[in-house]
């Protein structure tokens, strides 16, 4: 699906939220006051069982960026090459500001999510075919479409992730790097959604 179609789907989600005087986070909270580290929605997002999962949460005030309210973690399903078993890997996180607007993409070290670790190229390959379905909620459409709209940026983000990882404690094993609790975020990219949408679909 070309980027402008993802842009159109992002705009469709935005209009859905705008019509409700809401945004992607308020829509998910549905009137609840979030508690630190509490996941939304309860039971997580399942994307109509199309191979993606995710959730939104807020870290404690001392652990979050001052411009961030919380973030979505997005995971993709993949088949292990050796035995074809199904597992999940963390693809990226989408940081949301205090007014419910996407502010940055970022990746995290393996210990943060505990998910299986794939190389940047294998992770990026999972973004080649972003699913669509009428069964997806507006929140899910927005998130999947954002992955499509920022496809090339995410490639850079993921390769930057792996590059940063190699620089952690040079000489230590990969396993030690992936479990180094002093390293949380590995790469990040700021988002200007208005500009991106304008480039993709404006007259």
């Amino acid at each position: 699906m070309p980027a402008d179609e993802h842009a159109i789907n992002v705009l469709g989600s935005l209009r859905y939220f705008a019509d409700k005087d809401s945004n992607i986070v308020l829509n998910l909270l549905d009137g609840q006051i979030p508690r630190e580290n509490e996941k939304f929605p309860e039971g997580e997002l399942h994307f109509a069982n199309l191979g993606w999962r995710g959730f939104y949460h807020c870290h404690s005030a001392k652990d979050r960026h001052h411009e961030e309210h919380g973030h979505f973690h997005l995971f993709a399903r993949y088949a292990e090459k050796q035995d074809n078993s199904i597992d999940w890997t963390h693809v990226a996180a989408l940081s949301i500001d205090n007014e419910g607007q996407p502010r940055a993409w970022f990746t995290v070290n393996q210990w943060v999510t505990g998910a299986s670790w794939l190389s940047a190229s294998d992770t990026f390959a999972l973004l080649d075919d972003i699913p669509t379905s009428d069964e997806l909620t507006a929140t899910e459409v927005f998130l999947l479409s954002m992955l499509g709209l920022y496809h090339e940026d995410l490639k850079e983000l993921l390769f930057d992730r792996d590059s940063q990882l190699t620089q952690i404690n040079a000489g230590t094993s990969m396993d030690d790097k992936l479990h180094n609790r002093e390293v949380y975020v590995l790469s990040s990219q700021q988002i200007d959604l208005q500009q991106r949408l304008s480039l993709a679909v404006s007259v």
Partner: protein, 60 residues
């Protein structure tokens, strides 16, 4: 429950001002996250603070 989103403007172009206005209509202050009063004593060295639920659809 959310409704499905249709691809409502497929095949049309959208003005920059319209995009800005739509984004502005989604700009609302979010409620400040409340501190979690529950103290978790975590002896699990390998715990992951941002993990998926292990078996969200499993039977109890």
């Amino acid at each position: 429950m959310e409704h499905k989103v249709n691809r409502w403007i497929m095949g049309t172009a959208v003005g920059i001002a319209a995009i800005a206005a739509m984004i502005d209509h989604t700009r609302h202050s979010l409620p400040t996250p409340q501190a979690n009063d529950i103290v978790v004593i975590d002896d699990e060295v390998d715990s992951s603070p941002c993990s998926l639920d292990v078996s969200p659809c499993s039977l109890d």
